[in-house]
């Protein structure tokens, strides 16, 4: 199993509160991604990173921000959580650019009440 860990695994939070999800990797891979999975939508890209302090928006980035101050950590922040952000969040890592396939973490189930 590739060294990729997501924390927390489960979280319940209230509407309007900030939430940070963490993705930690021990593979020293340059490329990291955050996806969300929702019924009827599959996996959708939120933000991605090509290296330390090099991040960009994906297709569903509104309401989310990211930071990557170290190669091993990629943080996803919901600045003011809303019920529409209830979802399962997956982090993925990739060693090289180009779609040779990502390695995904086990996911974080977030519920916003």
């Amino acid at each position: 199993d590739a060294g990729i860990t997501q924390s927390p695994r489960h979280k319940v939070t209230e509407t309007g509160t900030p939430v940070t999800l963490r993705c930690h990797q021990t593979e020293n891979h340059r490329y990291m991604y955050w996806y969300r999975q929702d019924p009827g939508h599959g996996l959708r890209l939120i933000h991605y990173s090509y290296g330390v302090k090099d991040t960009d928006k994906g297709e569903v980035s509104d309401g989310y921000s990211v930071s990557r101050s170290k190669t091993e950590d990629f943080l996803l922040t919901l600045e003011s959580a809303t019920s529409s952000q209830t979802s399962v969040y997956f982090c993925a890592i990739s060693e090289v650019r180009g779609a040779v396939g990502y390695t995904f973490g086990s996911g974080t189930r977030l519920t916003v009440v």
Binding site: Y31, Y33, Y35, G40, H41, G42, L43, R44, L45, Y48, G58, F90, A92, S94, R97, G98, A99, V100, G101, Y102, T103, F104, G105, S106, G107
Partner: protein, 112 residues
């Protein structure tokens, strides 16, 4: 608009028979296609891929076929086993852009 489409939300197949999962895409610039498998409470895992310069790629019980003119690919699993019960995601990417675009997934049930 969805660039990668999996029109069957679910599929049930008898154990030992062939499972065929289908996927269509709209972006003619896609040049790399992948299938991921996902069990409940786990992250997706890479299953098999195919480059647009090929029309078939085989790995054990899994074969992916690509029909570029029809913008269609399919995953064949032969023979189907109980452990194949999972959600399968079709995905694609464009060479100049490594980001992978996923379909909505198809839930495969292997019946005993």
């Amino acid at each position: 608009d969805q660039q990668v489409k999996q029109n069957s939300p679910s599929l049930s197949v008898q154990e030992g028979r062939i499972s065929i999962l289908n996927c269509d895409y709209t972006n003619s610039m896609f040049d790399y296609f992948l299938w991921y498998k996902k069990y409940p409470a786990e992250g997706p895992t890479f299953l098999i891929s195919i480059s647009s310069i090929k029309d078939k790629n085989e790995d054990g019980r899994f074969t992916v076929f690509l029909n570029k003119s029809a913008k269609h690919l399919s995953l064949h699993i032969v023979p189907s086993q109980p452990g194949d019960s999972a959600v399968y995601f079709c995905a694609a990417s464009e060479g100049s852009d490594d980001k992978i675009i996923f379909g909505k997934g198809t839930r495969l049930h292997i019946l005993p």
